[in-house]
């Protein structure tokens, strides 16, 4: 669990946001993947894709369904909106009633050293969604906190070395024994761990 690499990822994401990049890539590690999936879950990233040295095709350039198909799908959904929800998979409805799903295959190199994690960055009102991302637990000073301390931090008070979450929409991602979670979720589930990054 290299926090040095994570620090590089943090500053790279900040720089990419400032440069208004649409897609960027970071080295692949289990820690990076899990943290990025949490970032995507909390809406900081639009996509997380495992790929090679070249970026995956953006969604708009992927093969789309034709206009007639899209219109048919829209009318079908308008009449039967419950079809939008996944049905339990049985032998009879192996094929979805909504038609073939378009799956875009990404070429992942066999050599793990050549793999990259491609991230889609988000912008809103000409401002990046991810403005700041900084390490809390650092390679030179690792910190672990319990759920009570995390509760204090989420209530915007300082606890020990960790400043409170005082900015609107601020998130702290904590590495716990149940995976990487957001600080508020940790408080809810009474979990402690190593706070990795503060994002806002």
């Amino acid at each position: 669990m290299s926090l040095v690499n994570l620090a590089h990822v943090c500053s790279h994401l900040q720089n990419a946001s400032k440069a208004r990049l649409g897609v960027t890539s970071i080295p692949v590690s289990k820690l990076h993947v899990r943290l990025m999936l949490q970032l995507q879950k909390h809406g900081f990233l639009s996509s997380v894709t495992l790929g090679g040295p070249t970026p995956p095709l953006p969604f708009v350039l992927q093969s789309q369904s034709s206009e007639e198909e899209a219109a048919a799908l829209a009318s079908k959904l308008a009449n039967e909106p419950w079809l939008a929800y996944p049905a339990p998979e049985t032998a009879s409805n192996k094929k979805s009633t909504l038609g073939e799903e378009k799956v875009y295959e990404v070429q992942v190199p066999a050599n793990p050293a050549r793999r990259r994690l491609w991230l889609g960055l988000k912008y809103w009102n000409n401002e990046p969604v991810l403005n700041k991302m900084e390490l809390i637990s650092k390679p030179t000073r690792r910190i672990w906190v319990g759920s009570e301390e995390l509760g204090v931090i989420t209530r915007s008070r300082r606890s020990g070395y960790i400043a409170g979450m005082t900015r609107p929409g601020e998130c702290i991602f904590v590495s716990t024994d149940r995976g990487i979670l957001e600080a508020r979720e940790c408080v809810e589930r009474k979990l402690g761990g190593q706070p990795l990054a503060r994002v806002y």
């Binding site: 988000k122 809103w124 009102n125 969604v129 005082t166 900015r167 609107p168 929409g169 601020e170």
Partner: protein, 430 residues
């Protein structure tokens, strides 16, 4: 005391151990904590009242709120029907005179009525007159717009009546002093203005119907405000002699689409003034620089700069720039900011922190003035680096105007954000 206690405990224990073993149900004598022990006897829930006290209370209640005598009941029966009388007696019985004496009190608050009244009747002096409806107007109710001749006639009549009120002994004649002359002219002008604004001068028709137009008892507006009489006349007089108008102010009003009254409510304060010089080949040209803030105390704040060789000119320029530059500032619960803010201008960094209700404005004077003008009440701030006044003001203004709102963040991230302060206790947290 705390030193003595262990010794005592020790002694008691030795005596008890020396004696025969007691049954476990008997409570031990010594205390295991420093808190005072509970009294053994339970206090009654209600205070005991002695018979003598009760007698005194009954007597006092009897004198303060006496029962109806036979004679009074006879008088009441003349005024009220038997069923009403029964209701009165039932009410008298329901309310205990002792409760009235011990629990009721006379109002002393400033909002009590200034007179004794059961509010059963309309007092012509203290109360609003009853509203009248169209059925109270006798005869035909037709009114039409008056033509010029009728209007002039009505204005003359009304103005004369109004002047007669101001000069009950007749208009002074002969040689008038300058003051008297002025007063007479003002009175005539006011009377004419008021008459021209009167609906009786604008409409004509049936006499009763026209009179009803000017009768405030027919008005839908509650007639608690003073009528046009003096206020309107005063307002027109003031506008008449207020001739000098700043063309820049006029342009500002046009730009904002405001009237003068709204402009008067704006708080303006010049925070920075210093001299600057322009070095030319002719020599130094000195001028004055002003930085002014403007706010309405309800979430608008502007910063304006002005510079001129003439001091007053530069100040007015900065004031107008500040009012023109006013921008809305999002305020959380109309008292503080949404989360912590940070802004850097030049070498100046300003950090603003949102604070709980009642915290106050604990920040340096420039930020304090800006927060007060914007209508923020709870705020603290740090200016950790350069404290250049101009840059501090600009950085604070930029920070306050460029706040990120939770709604915006939620839409940007596509997640749901909820202010829990509005969730707990049914949202009634302040």
């Amino acid at each position: 005391m705390s030193v003595c206690r262990p010794a005592r405990c020790l002694l008691t224990r030795t005596t008890t151990t020396a004696a025969l073993p007691k049954s476990s149900t008997t409570p031990s004598k010594h205390h295991f904590s420093t808190s005072t022990p509970r009294p053994a006897r339970r206090r009654p829930h209600y205070p005991n009242i002695k018979a003598s006290t009760l007698k005194l209370l009954n007597e006092a209640a009897e004198t303060a709120h006496p029962k109806y005598q036979e004679r009074e009941l006879d008088l009441l029966s003349k005024k009220y029907t038997p069923s009403q009388l029964a209701a009165i007696r039932a009410a008298e019985q329901t309310i205990d005179a002792r409760d009235l004496l011990t629990q009721s009190q006379r109002r002393t608050d400033p909002w009590r009525l200034p007179y004794d009244d059961d509010l059963a009747e309309v007092d012509p002096v203290t109360d609003h007159a009853d509203k009248l409806s169209a059925s109270d107007i006798k005869g035909r109710k037709d009114v039409r717009a008056a033509n010029e001749i009728e209007s002039n006639e009505a204005i003359a009549k009304l103005a004369t009546a109004e002047l007669a009120k101001l000069y009950p002994d007749g208009i002074p004649e002969g040689q008038l002093t300058f003051e008297q002359q002025n007063r007479l002219e003002e009175a005539m002008e006011a009377a004419l203005t008021q008459a021209a604004l009167d609906p009786r001068a604008v409409y004509t028709g049936d006499e009763d119907a026209v009179r009803a137009l000017a009768d405030h008892r027919h008005s839908v507006v509650l007639p608690d405000l003073p009528r046009i009489e003096t206020r309107m006349a005063k307002a027109t007089r003031r506008l008449a002699n207020e001739e000098q108008e700043d063309p820049r102010q006029k342009r500002l009003l046009q730009y904002l689409g405001w009237d003068k009254q709204k402009l008067r409510d704006i708080r303006v304060k010049t925070l920075v003034t210093h001299g600057v010089t322009n070095q030319t080949r002719m020599g130094k040209i000195r001028s004055l620089y002003y930085l002014t803030i403007a706010g309405n105390g309800e979430g608008l704040l502007g910063v304006g700069e002005g510079k001129s060789v003439e001091p007053e000119e530069g100040r007015v320029e900065s004031v107008i720039a500040a009012i023109r530059n006013m921008k809305p500032i999002p305020r959380y619960e109309n008292r503080t900011i949404f989360g912590d803010l940070e802004r850097k201008v030049g070498a100046t960094k300003v950090e603003l922190f949102s604070r709980p209700p009642g915290f106050g404005l604990r920040c340096q004077h420039l930020i304090f003035e800006m927060a007060r003008a914007a209508g923020l009440q709870d705020l603290s701030a740090r200016v950790p680096r350069s404290r250049n006044k101009m840059n501090v003001i600009k950085a604070t203004w930029e920070a306050l105007t460029n706040q990120k709102l939770p709604d915006e963040i939620a839409r940007a991230r596509g997640v749901k954000l909820v202010d829990v302060r509005k969730v707990y206790y049914g949202g009634s947290v302040h």
